[in-house]
Symmetry: C2
Subunit: 392 residues, 2 copies
């Protein structure tokens, strides 16, 4: 990853996290006329000043879900009141199982029902599912309206809300229908992490852990020293982890917005992880849990191909476990388990003419995208899958 900008000084020294979390930081996503800032801090969500400078619009629509809405929609609505004459809210059912057309259409119903025009600003208030669906709705409503990401989960703050990937699922594959469409602003309010269940914090940590092996081994070292603080919700530790994760993602996305090449490295662990999610049925495992086990599987495949040594795989596996994540994949087929993994992975968007493209670790801190022989992948799947029978 020699093409990435140097890591910020903080990623090399835990002392830097002594900076108070309340001081908002900004990471810039540089994409020409589609550039935008990521604001990171505590209390940003309910502060009207956070939303100054957005395109003027009479109407806004807050898209949230039945879990997050009751916690934060009122606060966001109040903060938007100085900026928009009409602030509407639509609450979607909560969960990956609802990341489908029928639920997406409820956003269009709300927009058209309120007579919203093509200047209307959409606000995505929630986790990755809300962000992906709101972003795709914004990309498609009247062929494109502005939108703002207000991610309330750790996973969304460090990954899905940044970079403009939006989508819904199709019964035959995750995120198969969507758009590259950039928000005007991302607001990461670290205060929302305090209300997350521990399982969701761990799922978010999967996407943070990812950035070490693919781009920044110093950050991996920092994570090893600070994992307990992160799981405990320490504001200063979270501020640093979110900031550094967004910095790395911004550097990658700035070079390859539409995933022509480099950007695919952000999918480390995701090829196996998507097969897990799809094989068990969306929602059985959280996305970050699939990525946790998926990173161990991808690292193991890297080792079998001679790209990293066993000690690296052990080190990553230990960090995944300390993040509270599964380190083994589930069995997703009572018969040919590895065959089912292979079939599902061939549907991955990175596949080309039926060849699965894996994101592998090409030495610590550096990723590569390449194929691997089916027989070897089968071995890795069997070596990395739990012995237990098929999960529900």
């Amino acid at each position: 990853m020699q093409t990435l900008s140097p890591s910020s000084p903080e990623s090399r020294s835990p002392a830097a996290v002594a900076q108070p979390a309340a001081a908002a930081r900004t990471v810039a996503i540089d994409l020409g006329d589609r550039s935008y800032p990521i604001r990171i801090g505590t209390g940003l969500l309910g502060d009207a000043a956070t939303y100054a400078g957005l395109p003027r619009a009479t109407a806004a629509l807050i898209v949230t879900n039945t879990t997050v809405g009751p916690l934060y929609a009122g606060r966001l609505r109040a903060a938007l009141a100085p900026h928009h004459r009409d602030v509407h809210v639509v609450e979607l059912p909560d969960g990956e199982a609802y990341k489908d057309w029928a639920t997406l259409n409820r956003i269009f119903d709300a927009l058209l029902g309120h007579g919203c025009d093509r200047r209307t600003v959409l606000y995505a208030l929630g986790g990755g599912v809300v962000g992906d669906m709101t972003g795709f709705a914004a990309a498609s409503y009247m062929r494109g309206v502005p939108f703002v990401q207000v991610p309330t989960t750790l996973l969304a703050q460090v990954d899905s809300s940044v970079g403009g990937k939006t989508a819904i699922n199709h019964p035959l594959g995750k995120n198969m229908v969507g758009a590259f469409y950039q928000p005007h602003l991302v607001v990461c309010d670290l205060g929302t992490i305090a209300t997350l269940p521990p399982r969701e914090v761990s799922a978010g940590l999967a996407e943070i852990v990812k950035y070490g092996p693919i781009a920044d081994m110093a950050f991996m070292g920092w994570l090893e020293e600070n994992m307990e603080a992160l799981r405990a919700g320490d504001p200063a530790a979270l501020a640093h982890a979110v900031h550094r994760s967004c910095e790395i993602k911004a550097a990658v996305v700035g070079q390859d917005e539409r995933e022509a090449g480099l950007r695919a490295i952000l999918n480390f662990g995701h090829t196996f992880g998507h097969a897990i999610e799809s094989g068990l049925g969306y929602g059985a495992w959280l996305h970050g849990e699939g990525v946790g086990a998926g990173m161990v599987m991808a690292a193991t495949l890297s080792q079998r191909l001679g790209l990293v040594d066993a000690a690296f795989v052990d080190r990553l596996t230990a960090l995944v476990a300390r993040a509270g994540l599964p380190t083994a994949g589930p069995r997703i087929d009572a018969g040919d388990n590895a065959g089912r993994y292979l079939r599902l992975m061939r549907l991955d968007k990175k596949s080309e003419a039926g060849d699965i493209r894996f994101v592998l670790i090409d030495g610590p801190g550096r990723a590569v995208v390449r194929g691997a022989p089916d027989a070897l992948v089968r071995e890795v799947v069997e070596a990395c899958c739990a012995r237990a029978p098929v999960a529900a």
Copy 2:
């Protein structure tokens, strides 16, 4: 419209149409890295050479409908065989009533069912509905795959296949969900016009007639001299009309791809026309028929605002009639007919904060986008609507 490139010499002289129709012409759409050619000629559809130079891909999917597929899908498939190992075909039901999510999803089902990857090229073989849906499917499948427009109706050749507007309808509005997404190539095979019913030829002529009042009065004069030849399917006349229409559209789209301003003039007649289509239920009137009556209504509104004289309105009305199109709107409400027009037009994508933005003629050959008082719009609707009761 002083910002448009000068009209080509042919538009000033009917003699130019003596050029044999079989000689393919090309119009370039200049949009930086999204530029592409429109090829216009007879016999292009079934010629393998037409498709040389597209991105290499193992798989292609031809999207067509149950009317056009039996006529041309075999010929297109044969022409694509040298370029793609697998050429799949999906046939959608025919008609504006099917321009919805359920039908769009059949394209995604076909793509995923065949294991198509993100290099797959989609070919839209049909009229405006097939083109709009295939384009939106291409924009959204795996967040974007290449596509080619092969329009087989006159309307699609001169308007909907060019410029990258894609969409599906929502029960509350036409083309409300879609994307700006440019094709890699547009292939206008004039031979397909010969198989069109006369009603569809007239509907296509509406979008050709449109270019005169908004941009090129010399072209309007040419149309007045050649309307019978066009309706009779004269290949040389069609070649010129399609070529000049695409030239004007290319000039407008090249300056304003995403309809921030200028591009809206291409919607001359469409604000009233969409209200007609929506008020009667999609499919009762063809899109071009709504545009025909809509242009007369918009010209009448322009006259009432003092922008053009009555002679101009009469001249345009006569041309619309000679194209075989309705010159009066239908009654779409048994009670407050004009009120229903107004309510439907407020849902138009050009509306801003509830104010309808009309495309008006600001002197012959020049368009302007502006509002108008409700009372005046009511008068124009009543003056321009048939006396007969509500149509089915």
